[in-house]
Structure formats: structure tokens, C-alpha cells
């Protein structure tokens, strides 16, 4: 049941009616039932996986809280009879038990994700290595189910588990409500990876029918459909052709493909998240924003704070910080500062932790080398820009361009181009081919091939290109308006006839210009596969 299918729209409408017609105390149960139905329709066996994650995380968190409570009582009784060292030893002993529960649950859930997602990738690599050393390399692949959205709900559950372990908030006592947090259907497919303390309040609250909220939700859904169906799915047609025939579409066409893919991915992913946030809003649930106009970023570091925000903060909070201040890294920091000086000493643990983060970010996106190369490509670019910082300072001291419009434009274009280049790994899904195509942009630009006729050979007509150009302009204009505040608030402040024109206008644009006719098969969202 894809977000863009009629069945999804009917499903949301039915859930919506039940949600507001039934007594409010059942609202969480209706959302949970709807979420499991949605997941069941995606794949019958998927439910088993999500239930294992839900129940194991719920029980582990409850067990950790119970142990903490018992530990606190025991500590209060014994602390007066113990000296400082004794108290410390007691606390350490108590923590050991809690850590054991935590680790068991963590290993189980990460283990499930690793097995279903990466087993065949490992087998392929083992076969490759065996063949390289003269072996047979005939290990057979395993037929495993990869449940939809497993990376998203596993990361969301793991974040909850870690937070409860650190005592950030108490464990949820209600199994049903916790199950809803894990499986809430609008965000099950492609995130965002919500934090329990941010989502739970509005998810479990009792909601009355709020016209304003529902109107905002519908607007957001419509905006998402516009991005996905009018822009992303149309652009996809040309991108597919460009990727499928690299021997024909190299050089300047590789560059065009790179930019087309940048637009497609942006419209696809942000459109999907718009639908997620909008659908959640219909039920009064506030899902965190996952994008903040990423293509307006001044550099890659900033870009990653504005693109897929929930994933970036997840890796920062649960991988980068814990790894960079872990005992081995602290030792490394000291060792490097003593032996190589402060400059290297301070950087080494941070760069190594970043390496781990980007390697995992790549692997998280998919079990293949192109995603690993993409992750490490991001790492290299960020490290280089970090090391070039003194050079930038000298440049800006000499030339007073910082803050000027041409410089800002240069920074934005640079960010878009660098990110688009890196995404070629994602596009071609083949590391050597990606390098070849990247090289061809400079070695064999073949500019003369960029004719109108060639563009029409990509599966799109003149009208499609006009729609795409207009769509991209609308995206740009809305982003510009957003800089001064919420677009929806601005629309809400307009008179009723103007609002009607905007809503119905957008509705008919989606209806008329959605990419239904060009080989339309309700194309999946790109991030569904992660």
C-alpha cells in the first residue's frame, strides 16, 4: 500500500473516521490497529519482525527500570554502612545487571537487522574473496525476508532503549502504546526516526476534531503529492534512461543525470516526509521535521544538519559522541596528544569516530559497496573542508566576499554540486562505473550531444520538461518564502477565496500533471528500500 495509491488514501480516510468517531480513549488502539493492518498489507511475515522488536524492547526497558528501582532502594539502605569505595562498588555491581539486559536487547535487535539486511552482502563478499584466492566461491545466497522500514523502526527502538538505559525518561508501561510508537504507520515506511520523548506526548494524547490542524495536515499531504507525483515520478523516467544506458549517456549527460537525480531525490524524499507529517497531523500527532531547506546550505557539514535530520542526529547522539568519548578513544586522544602534539591529538579521535559514523551511515542505506563508497565519500569531503578551514580564514581575510550575495550563491551551488556528485554512487549502484561516469564529465564531455532531440529521447516530452521546470521553480519559491516563516500560516491568513484557489489549484495540478501516464506504476519512494 504505497502512499501514492488509492488504497492508501481510502485506508487513511477510514482510519480518520474511526479515530474521531470512536471514544477518545480508544484512539491509540485505532492507530495501532491501523498501523499493523498497513504493515500486514505490505508483507504478512513483516509483522513477526516488528513484534519481536517491540516486545523485546518493551520488556528490556521495563526490566531496566525495575532493576534501577530495586537498586536505588538497596543503595539507600546500604549507603550509610559503606565508605566511598564501597558505595562505588555497589553502584557498579548494580549497573552491571542493568547493562546486561540492555546489551542483550541491543544485540538481538541490531542482530536481526544485520542478519536480514547484510547476510547476502557478506556471502557475496566471501565468494568474491574466495574466487580471488583461487577458491570456488560458491556459497549460496540465503532467501531472507527484508521487512519494510526495518532500519527505521529498529533505530527508533534502539534510541528508546539507550535513552531508558541512561535514565533520560522512564520506560513506557503500556505495551500497546509502546507498540504504537514503534509501528506508527505514517513514519514506518521512510521515517523520520522519531525520538520517544518528542513523539509520545502527541501520539498518546486524546485528540478532538481540530479543523485548523486537519486543514494544515491536508495541505501538507497535497504538497507532498505534488512533489512526489508531479516532479519526482516524472523526473524518474529520464533518470532511469540515463542510468540504464551509461555507454550512450556519458560526459555532459552524466552531469545532466546527476542534476536530474538531485531534483528527483529531493522531491521524492521530502515529498514522502510531507505526506508522513501531514497524515500524522490529521490525527493530531506531531512528527518532527526531517528537512530544513537542505539545498540552501553553505557547506556539506551544514547540509547534513538540514537533510534527513533525524538520521543525522541519531548517528551523532548514539554513535559519534559515545564512540569519540569512549575509553579506547580517550586513551587514543591522550596518546596522540603526547606523541603528535595537540593539533593531531585532538583531531584523531574525532576523525576516527566520524569515519565510523559515515561507514555506518553508508551501510545503513544499503547492503552494497556503492553505499559504503557514498558514505566514505561524504566523510572525505567533510574532513577535507575541516582541514582547509585555516585556508578559508586566510582567504576571507584577504578578500572581503563573505556575506555577499555572489559568495552565498557560490556556496549554495558548490554544496548542491558536491552532494550531487556523491549521489552518483547511489545512482549507478556500481563503484567503478560511478568513477568512470564522473571521469567522463571531464574527459569526454561530449557537449554536442546535448540537443533537444536527445533530451526528448529520455522518455519525456516538451510538456514534461515545462512541468518539471515550473515545478522546480515552485519548489524554489516556496523555499524562499519559508525562510521568512511558515507558508501554511501565510496561507491560513489569506482570505477564504484565495485559500480555496490555492488548495483546489494544487489539487488539480496533482490530478492533471501527476506522472500517471508515462509508464505509471505507482513508483515506490526511494527511501522505502532503506
Amino acid at each position: 500500500m504505497l502512499f501514492t495509491s488509492y488504497s492508501f488514501m481510502i485506508f487513511v480516510a477510514v482510519t480518520f473516521c474511526l479515530y474521531y468517531v470512536c471514544p477518545k480513549k480508544w484512539q491509540w488502539a485505532i492507530l495501532l490497529g491501523a498501523s499493523y493492518f498497513f504493515y500486514f498489507m505490505a508483507g504478512r511475515t513483516y509483522l513477526i519482525y516488528i513484534l519481536v522488536t517491540t516486545v523485546s524492547t518493551y520488556l528490556a526497558a521495563r526490566q531496566m527500570d525495575a532493576r534501577k528501582e530495586r537498586a536505588e532502594q538497596a543503595y539507600a539502605l546500604q549507603k550509610d554502612s559503606l565508605d566511598k569505595e564501597g558505595r562505588k562498588a555497589l553502584k557498579a555491581k548494580q549497573k552491571k545487571g542493568i547493562t546486561r539486559v540492555f546489551l542483550a536487547c541491543l544485540i538481538l535487535n541490531i542482530g536481526i537487522l544485520a542478519v536480514v539486511k547484510y547476510t547476502n552482502f557478506m556471502i557475496a563478499n566471501i565468494n568474491g574473496i574466495a574466487k580471488a584466492f583461487g577458491g570456488d566461491g560458491t556459497l549460496s545466497f540465503v532467501d531472507l525476508v527484508l521487512p519494510m522500514g526495518i532500519s527505521f523502526y529498529t533505530f527508533q527502538s534502539v534510541a528508546y532503549l539507550i535513552d531508558v538505559y541512561h535514565g533520560k525518561y522512564p520506560a513506557q508501561k503500556h505495551l500497546g502504546k509502546f507498540a504504537l510508537f514503534v509501528a506508527f504507520f505514517p513514519q514506518l515506511v521512510q521515517g523520520p526516526i522519531s525520538r520517544y520523548n518528542e513523539l509520545s506526548e502527541s501520539l498518546f494524547a486524546l485528540h478532538s476534531f481540530d479543523k485548523q490542524n486537519i486543514a494544515y495536515g491536508l495541505e501538507r499531504i497535497l504538497w507532498g503529492y505534488f512533489k512526489k507525483m508531479v516532479i519526482a515520478d516524472r523526473m524518474l523516467v529520464a533518470v532511469k534512461v540515463l542510468i540504464a544506458e551509461p555507454e550512450t549517456y556519458y560526459g555532459s549527460f552524466a552531469f545532466v543525470g546527476m542534476l536530474f537525480y538531485a531534483l528527483e531525490l529531493y522531491a521524492d524524499f521530502t515529498g514522502g516526509i510531507d505526506i508522513t507529517i501531514g497524515v500524522a497531523q490529521l490525527f493530531g500527532v506531531k512528527v518532527a521535521e526531517n528537512f530544513r531547506r537542505p539545498y540552501f546550505s553553505k557547506n556539506i557539514k551544514e547540509y547534513w544538519k538540514r537533510w534527513h535530520i533525524s538520521m543525522g542526529t541519531w548517528f551523532t547522539d548514539y554513535i559519534f559522541y559515545p564512540v569519540s568519548v569512549s575509553k579506547p578513544f580517550r586513551k587514543l586522544n591522550k596518546f596522540a596528544r603526547e606523541h603528535f602534539g595537540d593539533h593531531v591529538g585532538k583531531r584523531l579521535p574525532v576523525y576516527l569516530s566520524s569515519f565510523v559514523v559515515w561507514l555506518l551511515t553508508g551501510i545503513w542505506h544499503g547492503a552494497s559497496w556503492n553505499f559504503i563508497a557514498w558514505g566514505l565519500g561524504n566523510y572525505v569531503v567533510i574532513m577535507i573542508s575541516e582541514e582547509l578551514e585555516p585556508l578559508y580564514h586566510r582567504f576571507h581575510k584577504r578578500f572581503h566576499v563573505a556575506g555577499t550575495l555572489p559568495w552565498k550563491l557560490f556556496q549554495v551551488i558548490r554544496t548542491v554540486l558536491i552532494m550531487s556528485c556523491l549521489r552518483m554512487f547511489d545512482c549507478y549502484r556500481d563503484v567503478p562505473l560511478t568513477f568512470q561516469m564522473f571521469g567522463s564529465m571531464f574527459a569526454r564531455p561530449n557537449l554536442s550531444a546535448l540537443t533537444g532531440e536527445a533530451f526528448l529521447g529520455l522518455g519525456l516530452g516538451v510538456t514534461d520538461y515545462i512541468i518539471l521546470a515550473a515545478g522546480a521553480l515552485v519548489l524554489f519559491a516556496v523555499s524562499m518564502i519559508q525562510r521568512a516563516g511558515s507558508v501554511r500560516t501565510k496561507i491560513a491568513s489569506c482570505s477564504f477565496p484565495v485559500r480555496m484557489v490555492i488548495w483546489w489549484g494544487l489539487f488539480f495540478i496533482v490530478l492533471l500533471f501527476g506522472a500517471y501516464s508515462i509508464g505509471y506504476n505507482e513508483s515506490q519512494f526511494i527511501y522505502n528500500q532503506f
Binding site: 547522539d317 574525532v350 569516530s353
Partner: protein, 77 residues
């Protein structure tokens, strides 16, 4: 505790008067590399555990804020 902390901070930037500096993060005196090093030193020296949630600018803006963080964590641990 105060003297030990001052020594750690002075090791990071000997040219800064940490007794009076009030904007270590906003003033970009401590960068992300310094913070990771500082947190590592605090964990080792004061035998505390600082989580990602606590690695926020408010906890490192000046000497008093860092001292408050250490005190809080020592009491918790």
C-alpha cells in the same frame, strides 16, 4: 575540583583566562575537537560518565557551567 578543571582547560588553550571567559562555545574558543577532548578528560579525571544529551553548549559555556555539570554527574554516579 575547580583547580583540576582549570588545569585541564588551560592545557587545551593556555592563552585563555578561563576564570573570566563567559562564552567558550558561542565565542568559538572551544571547538568540537576541544569539546571531545575536554569530555574525555572530565570522564577520566572525575570518574564520571557524560552522555550525548549533556554535550550541549549550555554545559560548556563557562567554567561555572562545566563545574556544575561535574558536580551533578558526580552526585548521580
Amino acid at each position: 575540583m575547580r583547580d583540576e578543571l582549570l588545569e585541564i582547560l588551560q592545557d587545551l588553550h593556555e592563552d585563555i583566562d578561563f576564570e573570566t571567559a563567559d562564552n567558550l562555545i558561542d565565542g568559538k574558543i572551544l571547538d568540537s575537537f576541544d569539546i571531545v577532548t575536554l569530555v574525555g578528560e572530565l570522564c577520566d579525571t572525575f570518574d564520571i560518565e557524560i552522555t550525548a544529551d549533556e554535550m550541549v553548549p549550555e554545559n560548556f559555556q563557562n567554567l561555572e557551567a562545566i563545574l556544575a555539570l561535574i558536580t551533578r554527574k558526580s552526585e548521580e554516579d
